[in-house]
């Protein structure tokens, strides 16, 4: 029994000794070494990572995705930690698609512990690199922007910078709504690097979806038609806009060339960025003002001389003719410059200027796209003696295609000028339709549409653009481009703006072709494009024939 007690005593002493040693060690680590160990643990086992918020989608009116975000990674190397740069560069170069020498140069960059090897690498590639398990290679999670439908509506959708911020178009205009809020996640790992605790310190808030009024099907058709115009006439640029005139919703907005070639011209949204002299499409504005002021009616007759002497200018029509009499409807039908001037004279400079501004020219339309130009419109007190010789038929003022579409939409919807808009909803919440203001009476708008119907009739400047079964109204425009203070004889802007059906238009389409080659006329360059677009759109949108 004494032996047993002694052994138990020994064991007790051993246990107590070991326990004492453990306590002493714990006290040492917990007091003397506490600071350094805490720092080491914070850097080695606790990491706060930023969880990038997925940028909101941009969709068309039916939810077709035009821009989405997907996971990607930046690949970062710490040259201090790369043990074998040669073999590492060999493995990485095949995954990165970069020459090995380039990777090796980065991996051996002196005096730095941080080198980017790649930006926004797709997740699959990044995972492959992660699986290489090369010490000193880190993946920084990011999100990259992809456009599943390529260049469709490229200038409307816009683009993002490398850091994910909007750079243009809707991406820029609605950047705040799209970007969301990045989250912060705290991960505590054990000594082997296995996470043992994950806390979302700040939750990730995804960006909101921005739904456009753009109709993807119509948009693609408009782009296809513009591409044909581009191929046939090799213009400097071209743009087309399709709008629902009752709401101002932009159903399609296309530019040629598209942004694929990366040229500066392609990057510009010509629909809102092109200042051009509208030419004869502007005659409708002159006539609208005169109609609304009660100065003319559709049947008011004008004696049209072959040449109109106005101050120091001689005004010709595009087609030579003798003395003739045309009523207002026919002036629009055959697009008489002299006739438009005579109507403008009845208005006078002050009232003409009033109506130009009443239709929204000289200021941005307010469309929800960045970078909209306001055009150049002189005030009436700045007119020269001969200004009224060319302003009434669309020379001497600069407008944007979007302004023209807004003005013609007002004619189409009964006289309400409303800002066009391209965003239908943000985060599922419908954006309000911009309020409109009545600028001409419904009766005047109706009379004007009736007259513009004649442009498609036999003898009209766009008779070839008629679509059987459909009643359409519109106006051609062929405008010289001013070069060095003089109108060029070789550079023109061909345009056409029309609506369908005439009585209750549901679609307004404008086609503007800047400096076409081969043919220059709105009736032969832009009107056929209008015809193709509308011909495709009417069954697509369910617009019945008359």
């Amino acid at each position: 029994m004494a032996v047993m007690d002694r052994r138990i005593g020994i064991l007790f002493i051993v246990f107590v000794s070991l326990l004492g040693l453990a306590l002493a060690r714990a006290a040492y680590l917990g007091s003397v070494q506490a600071g350094s160990l805490e720092r080491a643990a914070a850097t080695q086992q606790v990491s706060n990572i930023v969880v990038p918020a997925p940028r909101g989608q941009i969709t068309d009116r039916d939810g077709a995705e035009l821009a989405i975000s997907e996971s990607a990674d930046d690949i970062v190397a710490d040259p201090y930690l790369i043990k074998n740069p040669v073999s590492a560069s060999a493995e990485l170069s095949s995954q990165l698609g970069t020459p090995q020498l380039t990777v090796l140069k980065l991996l051996t960059k002196p005096h730095t512990g941080f080198v980017y090897l790649a930006h926004l690498l797709p997740a699959a590639q990044a995972t492959a690199i992660s699986n290489l398990r090369i010490a000193g290679i880190t993946l920084v999670p990011q999100a990259r922007r992809v456009y599943p439908r390529g260049d469709e509506a490229a200038q409307v959708v816009g683009s993002v910078h490398l850091d994910g911020d909007g750079a243009g178009g809707i991406e820029f205009q609605y950047d705040k709504a799209l970007e969301g809020t990045n989250g912060v996640r705290r991960i505590v790992s054990d000594a082997r690097g296995q996470p043992i605790s994950i806390d979302d310190l700040r939750p990730t808030v995804p960006g909101k979806t921005v739904a456009l009024t753009i109709d993807s099907g119509l948009q693609q058709e408009v782009e296809r038609v513009l591409a044909e115009v581009g191929a046939e006439y090799s213009p400097h640029g071209a743009t087309a806009i399709a709008v629902d005139p009752s709401t101002g919703a932009v159903l399609a907005l296309a530019n040629w060339p598209a942004s694929a070639n990366g040229s500066a011209a392609a990057a510009q949204d010509q629909a809102i960025g092109l200042n051009y002299e509208p030419g004869s499409t502007f005659k409708a504005i002159t006539v609208a003002g005169a109609l609304q002021d009660g100065l003319v009616t559709p049947n008011t007759q004008f004696d049209i001389p072959p040449v109109l002497q106005f101050a120091d200018r001689q005004i010709h029509d595009a087609e030579d003719h003798g003395y003739e009499t045309l009523n207002v409807a026919n002036i629009l039908k055959v697009s008489s410059n002299i006739g438009a001037d005579l109507i403008g004279m009845r208005l006078g400079a002050k009232r003409f200027d009033y109506w130009v501004r009443r239709f929204g020219f000289g200021q941005p339309t307010g469309v929800d796209l960045p970078g909209e130009q306001s055009g150049i419109v002189l005030h009436w007190w700045n007119y020269s003696g001969s200004s009224m010789a060319n302003l009434p038929f669309g020379q001497g003022e600069s407008v944007t295609p979007m302004q023209m579409v807004a003005a013609y939409s007002a004619i189409a919807n009964g006289g309400t000028l409303r800002a066009p808009h391209v965003v239908q909803s943000v985060g599922g919440k419908a954006t309000p339709i911009p309020p409109g203001r009545q600028i001409i009476s419904p009766a005047t708008a109706s009379e004007l549409r009736d007259m513009l119907r004649g442009v498609f009739a036999d003898g009209g400047t766009a008779s070839g653009a008629q679509i059987d079964g459909y009643d359409m109204a519109g106006k051609t425009g062929t405008a010289n481009i001013a070069v060095d203070g003089h109108y060029s004889d070789s550079a023109y802007v061909a345009s056409f703006i029309g609506m369908v059906p005439t009585d209750h238009p549901r679609l307004v389409v404008a086609v503007v072709v800047n400096q076409p080659h081969g043919s220059i006329f709105g009736g032969s360059v832009a009107a056929p494009a209008f015809q193709q677009i509308v011909g495709w759109a009417v069954p697509y949108l369910g617009i019945p024939p008359r």
Binding site: P148, R149, Q194, G279, G459, S463, Q466, G523, Q531
Partner: protein, 315 residues
Amino acid sequence: MPRVVAAGAGGVLAAAVALPLPVPRRLRPVPRRESAPKSTTGFFPRIGAFVVALPDHPWLDRVVRGRVWIPLLGVLLAGIVAAQVEILKLGANMGSSLEQTTTLTTQNEQLRYNVASLSNDQRIERLATSMGMVLPPPGSVGYLVASQRADVTRALGNIHAPDTTAFMALAPGNGALVTGAGTSMLPTTPGVLAQAGTPGSATPTSTPSPTTTVASPGPAASGGVGTTTSSTTGTTTGSTTGAPTGSTTATPTDTTSTPQTTDQQPPTDPQTSTTAQSATTTPQSTTGTQSGSQAPATGAAPIQPAGGTQQSSGG
């Protein structure tokens, strides 16, 4: 007896007569009041009593004095270790779950990208064209007007899922237009199929009105001088030569209001037929644009520029 208290320094005696201390009274022992007998029927009192009595419990005495506590302690320690291991395993699972979440999110994004790409309208249109389908010309699409006495129940009863088999059976003949109830415009041969998308192809025979729609998206859409087609209406005149005098005397009729329909006549003119077949090889045949030797569908000659006149911006 009074006590003298010496105070202060300097040897000054300040004698004072102190009051006699009170003689402590011997307190009589207060008999402890017997507390009221506590109820032993309550739960907590019984628990308390058990805890108080535990150190003297014979079972504990036996465990401490015996060897049972060794395996008991071992089991407890093993349990603690096992719990730690489980925590580690949970952590590891958390990490793998996180990784899996990331992978699935990435796959989801990729799939969404694929869906967006595959639902591209132009792609679907190309596929449809390759299957022989064409877009009808704008004027040939009929629209039904709902009757005031419409029977909603009956209409709902007529809605059914598309029959894939029936559709595929029609596939070889797709490309023509089916108009009206029970009246098919399906051609009998693939060559005739192209008739639907033939620019400038005219049906050589006239069909008296009332008629139905005929799919011909070519120049019928343009209606320009020199183009003649039998697009939306009954009587058609003119030729396919693109002569500038030819014009369509088409009188658009409401296809929905015409109860009778007439099948399209197969082309008998070899030239027309050839034109039709060649036209199907051009993508424009589905969009109504001009092709071949037809005159441009610009209609009336556009206004020519006045030579040297700067103010000639007529449309």
